[in-house]
Structure formats: C-alpha cells, structure tokens
Assembly symmetry: C2
Homo-oligomer: 439 residues x 2
C-alpha cells in the first residue's frame, strides 16, 4: 500500500512540474529544500482558492474585517506570544555523519538512520527564521511563524477605526515561515507557507455558538473548493493534548496519499492571545460597548493552509480512467477552482476561416472570463488529453458546421465535457452564460 501511495505522489509531483503547476524552489541551482514555486497553472489554482476563501469569509460578511500585516515584526511580539521560548522541535545530530533529524520522527532514537552512527543529545531547535534588521548590529527580527500575530497586534487598530460590535472577526491571507528540520511530502511540510487565518472575537459566554458556526464554515469552504467531505475527518483534540488555554480544538484531517494528516485547525483560545499581548505591549486591549465594563474578548481561531488546501484539491481531483478504450489522467477540478475554465480550438489549424471564427469566439469569451485559453497544437484528440490533464472542464471546438456547412448548426460549437467526454452542440451566444453558471 505504501508503495502504491508513494507512486501516486510521484505521479502528482511529476504532473505538477510537467504541466506548470508547481516547481521546486531555486530548481536550476539544485533547489532549496522546503521551498516551492507556483507556475502559471499553480498560481491560477492558488488564486482561485484564496479568492473563494476571501469572498466567503471576509468580503461577503458584515462582521469580518480584512488585514494584510507585515511579515517582519517586532521581536517583542513573539516574546509575548511565547514563540521565542517554545516554538521549537526536538533536534538530534549524528555524532558520525553529522546529519540532523527531528528526534520525535525517529523510530530508534539512538542510531542514525543514515549511517547507523550514534546520535547525540536531543535539543530544542527554534523554528523561527531570524534576521538582522537595520544597520545596527544586534537588532533582530523574525519572519512571522504564523499570520495570527499580525491580527492580534492590530486588534486595537481595527476597534479604534471601525468600532465593531461583538462578535466580529479579522481575516488575513499571507506568508509565514518555519525553519522545519525535515521538510517533506511535497508542499505539505515546507519552510515557506501561506496561511488563511481568522481571529473571531466573541463575548466569553457565547464562544460555543461561534465555534459551531466556524466548524460548519470549514466544511462549506471544503465544498466550495471541491474537497470531498468523505475525505475530511474531524479530530477532537483531547484534554491532555490541547493547549492549556484552549477548551476545545478540532483538527480537520484529510486523507492525503501519504496518510491522514492535518489540513486545517479550529481552536477556541479564550483570551490567551489578547491577554499576552496586553502584558507584552503595556497597552489596553480591552473592549467595551456603551455603558458596559471593559473586558478582553475571547477568540475562536479557524486556520487554513493555502498550500495544504491546494494539495488536497489536487489529490482529490487526480483521476485515472479509460476513455474511448485508452487510459487517461485527468484532474476533476470543480470549475470554480480550475486554473483554465475552457479551451477554444479551431477543428483544423490550416483552415483560415476556422481559425478566424475560433479566434473571434475565444476573444469574446476571454473578455468575460479571463481564465480561457487558446489551443491549436496537435490534433483534437491530443488537445483533449492535454486539457484533461490540467483539469479544464470544457473544450470548445469551432468546426465547419459552425460556419454554416450544416445550416441548422450555423453559429453553434461543440462543447466537450472533461469528465464524461460527452459532446453537445451549443450556440456561441450561450457559452459565457453556461460557463458562468457553473462557477
């Protein structure tokens, strides 16, 4: 089983490189471990995922505020939050070959898995990337290890500018950095990641209802991006395993090819964060409605990884089947996330009248739906397979009937469905509406 699943990941990684979804970071220089570059199709898929999240959880809601805080933050932020002291993994080094490992990931904690040499003492290795800021030696800053910190330090700014009523939330999409000892599993465990996080502020007595709403929100988001519900599992984190300030935490796990692993987290964090930053900054971060005594709101934190969502969407979409007696690979993306919504072809590329008409259809459609491509390479069968492999829901072919060879079909095109291979005839005027409806 493990071999089959490794094989599946290999195929997915290979498809990602070959078709321009994801490349190894700094690849021509031998790569930089734990970093990945999103190619043309990858950036489209990723932007579609981020836009769905932002629209669902920020723009379409009255109780949510957007934010985009800096990656470089004052080191005091991470002292207050506890990251400077405790955001670390246990590290061991082989006394012989000097390779380094996360000791909690080793089966045998005495022997080096690479050379069999004796392993040294385990020590805590802080995962925050450190850098010197400004021209004065000793002024350090960290790359934020999570976007949440940027939200908490701006809680007061948002309250002062917008005077929101509780409950309300602040949402942010942005990069975070973790100096993983052993990055692995493609874009799953990386050193540079992207997060979509919300801190949702509530009255202490009403946290349970808000928690339940966000739990449902997570599933709605999965549905919207096309992650099948049957592969998402809620893990209630037990009393011993939760952070001490959390009364409830759910890990949302997904069946990745390499095992069931965390996709998202949802945690009730009490007033731990605002309280810590109040102490750390000596600022009053309390909230008070009219005629009320001031208090620290409590917080619900739904946290989504962009890269993990991308990988879950991708592995859910990856399908091998047979069509017309031949094996094929296709990505069964929901049209909302598909990097290309439709491809437009002329049936033959050496017939100027077909090409001209196809260009006209393409140009008009692209004005309304930018993620449309033109394809006239190879024969039509090859074009279908190529579009299948990148998950394009529809292929639109302009043929001689379109031009009126069959008068009854003049002004119509064939629209071929990715999943079934079935073709239907549709009026050119109906194409944009048909695609938009599916989005």
């Amino acid at each position: 089983m493990a071999e089959k699943e490794n094989n599946l990941m290999e195929k997915i990684v290979s498809l990602c490189k070959r078709r321009g979804f994801v490349f190894q970071g700094s690849e021509i220089y031998g790569g930089l471990a734990g970093t990945w570059d999103y190619g043309p199709l990858g950036v489209s898929l990723k932007n579609n995922i981020k836009n769905i999240w932002w629209k669902m959880f920020v723009d379409s809601r009255d109780d949510m505020f957007g934010l985009d805080a800096a990656i470089l933050m004052s080191p005091k932020v991470w002292e207050a939050s506890g990251h400077t002291e405790t955001f670390s993994d246990p590290l061991v080094e082989c006394t012989k070959c000097h390779h380094r490992f996360r000791s909690d990931q080793l089966d045998d904690q005495t022997k080096c898995p690479d050379c069999g040499g004796k392993l040294g003492e385990s020590r805590q290795f802080n995962l925050m990337f450190q850098t010197q800021i400004g021209a004065t030696e000793g002024s350090i800053s960290y790359l934020r290890p999570e976007t949440a910190g940027g939200i908490f330090v701006n809680f007061k700014n948002v309250v002062d500018s917008f005077h929101p009523k509780l409950p309300f939330g602040i949402g942010q999409i942005g990069k975070a950095f973790r100096n993983e000892i052993a990055p692995r599993d493609f874009i799953f465990r990386v050193r540079e990641l992207e997060q979509m996080e919300v801190e949702y502020f509530v009255r202490p007595e009403s946290w349970e209802g808000a928690f339940e709403e966000w739990r449902k929100g997570v599933h709605e988001f999965n549905k919207a991006v096309g992650i099948p519900a049957e592969h998402v599992h809620e893990l209630e984190v037990g009393d011993g395993d939760r952070a001490h300030y959390s009364k409830r935490t759910i890990d949302f796990e997904f069946d990745f090819p390499f095992g069931r692993k965390e996709l998202y987290g949802l945690a009730y964090r009490g007033d731990f964060d605002l309280s810590a930053h109040e102490k750390g900054s000596n600022q009053n971060l309390k909230y008070a409605a009219e005629g009320e005594e001031q208090f620290l709101p409590h917080v619900i934190e739904p946290s989504f990884g962009v890269d993990r969502t991308f990988l879950a969407v991708l592995t859910s979409a990856y399908t091998e089947d047979e069509l017309g007696g031949e094996g094929r690979v296709y990505l069964k993306f929901h049209p909302r996330v598909a990097p290309v919504k439709a491809a437009v072809f002329p049936l033959l590329k050496n017939k100027p009248e077909l090409v001209a008409k196809a260009r006209e259809v393409y140009t008009n459609l692209k004005k309304e739906i930018p993620q449309i491509v033109w394809d006239d390479n190879g024969n039509i069968g090859k074009r279908y397979r190529r579009q299948d492999e990148i998950g394009t829901p529809w292929c639109i072919t302009i043929d001689f009937d379109t031009l009126g060879e069959n008068k009854e079909l003049e002004g119509t095109v064939t629209v071929r469905d990715r999943d079934t291979g079935a073709q239907e005839r549709m009026a050119i005027a109906d194409l944009a509406g048909f695609i938009k409806k599916a989005l």
Copy 2:
C-alpha cells in the same frame, strides 16, 4: 512649500490610520521601522490595484504566464545576479553618537546631522536580509530583494511546460525585502515591499517595439487605477546612469507630496540576467524555435511597486473642498479601486420598516458586488462625510418614498454622488447595473 507638503503627508498618514487604511507595523510594541500593516480598507484598495494589474498584464493576454515563486531562494541566485556583491548603499556612522546614515543622502558628509560629531569612514552596506536556513549552522539564505530573480530561475520551467513562442512574458506579484538604512516617507521607502513585475522575453532584434508597447502599458495601468497622467513623468535614464547592460531605461516618476520620485521602472536588460543565471547554474537557458539555432532571448522589464502605486493612488485621490458651505475631505478614488463601492443606509435607524427595506437592498446588492457596506451610525450628514473620507463613490438611501409614501417614487432610492454631492432618484432594480457599469 516644504511645510505645506509635510502637512499634506501628515494629513494623509493620519487619515490612513484613523480610517483603517494603513497602520504602523507592530504599532502596539512601539513599531518596527520600515514595516506597515494594511488595515481593512487598505487591503481592499491594495487588492483592487493588484487585481487590475494581474487582469491587465497576465490573465487577459495570450502571451503572458503567471508565477508565484518563493521568497526564500538559494544564495547562489543572488551571487549570479550580482546582488551579493553590489546590492548595497553607502553607510556612515557617527563616531560620537553612533547613529548611522546613508552617506549619499547627507549634504555634509563630514558632520553628524544629529549631534554634529565627526562621521567615520563610509562603507558599503548590503541591503539583503540574511537568515539561516535548516538546522545546520552556516547554511544561509536571503529574503529576495526583488521578485525578478524568481522569474529568471523559472524561465526554463515555463518554456519546458508551455513551449511558448517569442515574444512572451512571465508576470509575478509578491513581497520583496530590503534592509534600508533609513526607511522614510510613509510606505514609499520601506523594508518590506510588494512588487508587480514582468520579464518580457523577445528576440534581440525586436526589443524596441516591445519596449514601446510596455511604455504605453504603464500609462494604461495608471489610467485604470486613477493616477492622473499629468503627475507622471518619464525620465529617460542617460548613458552614464544606466546599468551597463541596458540600452534604454525609463524611470516613471510621480509628483508625490514629498517630491518627484520614482514610481515604476522600465528597462531593456539585454540578455544580462539569463546569461548570468546560465553561468551561475550551469544550465542551458537558451531558447530555440523549430529549425532555429538556439539563443538567449533578450528581456524588457516593467517593474511596478504595489505600495508606491497605492500611495500615488491615495495622494491623487486626496481632496479638500467645500460642500454645502462646510469644508470636507474626500478621496476621489476611481470606482474600480475604491475599497467600498457603495454604502447603503436607511434614512432613519429607528423606523423598522425603513431598516428592513434597506437591509433587503443591501443584501441583494452585496451578493453581486461584495465591496458594499451597511451604515446606520449617526445622522445622514455624518454618514456622507464618513463615506466621503474613505472614498465611497455612492451613498444609497432608503426613505419613505421608497416604501411608497410618494407612489410615483415607490421602489426607488436616492443615490448620492461623492464628488458633486448631487442626488438622483434611481430604481432599486437598476442599482447593480449602474455600479457595475462604472467599474
């Protein structure tokens, strides 16, 4: 004059904080110099700017490919590009108070501007942020000082995946980091910035035409985001001042309140970059069409700063005038970039029938145009002033006539124009179409 302009910047910075556009980074911890956090309205404005750029220069074109490369890159990338050696500013330190300055920004290079003490020797200070990557001491990486590097190292990947014909380009939006000695002028000179860059690859003999097209493209973009043409000036960089590999470079300068400063750059860079990375990586980065000898394409680089565009849009929009005999401040944003497209009010908040109808109008409109807000705080005059100050193009008021008190006006609302203060009556059914047309 200088005082008046300082005053204008102070007013803009103050408005940005008060109304939730931009906050000082890590503000509650005393701030981190050169970093800024975009608040709810700032992130909307910024996203609108980025989306316009991406749609104009990537999604709507057949010859462009999008990319999102990692911020952390192999240090070899910056050795090859020359950044490790030369991406630096001259730094001097006062021998008395130990304050540090960029010597090229001092009028008198012998005396400390702070304490009058003697300045030490000037030395080159590299602006790249350095960090240690992985658990092995001595493995360093830099935060990328520009997004362009990520594009060049992926040139081969894009060619191998998509086989594009020349000319074609790769576009990217992302963060870049520069350890400025003296960050200043609000979000103009910062340590963490965001760039929108294109590398446009051409046959060596056809660079002039492509350069001219991109020159026009820059002005089209300015028009689309509402930066007035009369405040943008092309500076042809002369023979002595251009990089040695560039045959033509234009700096697009803008009349900021603190002076005429660089907004964008457009440079013809020959094959300098691909050639340097070919040497550095030992990879063949040449291009060959069918039946052609392989060669290194030349490159045109249009480079846009997100934060500087944001600031140019903001300062262009900032307006003080009189309306109805009272002074007011408003932001004359083009509706396309305005963070809020329209605000919906009930005329009175204590009349449930008005509130219910207004809620209905608001909810339906927001489904079609997410950047719509609800506002029922204070009297209508205050709401207008508040929306003017954040640049909301239209205020929509639901009154008793809407409900049919005047039968002829039933189902209509007042739409008030931000710039003129003029109000017109419009059918509820026409609102979405009216706003969308203006976007």
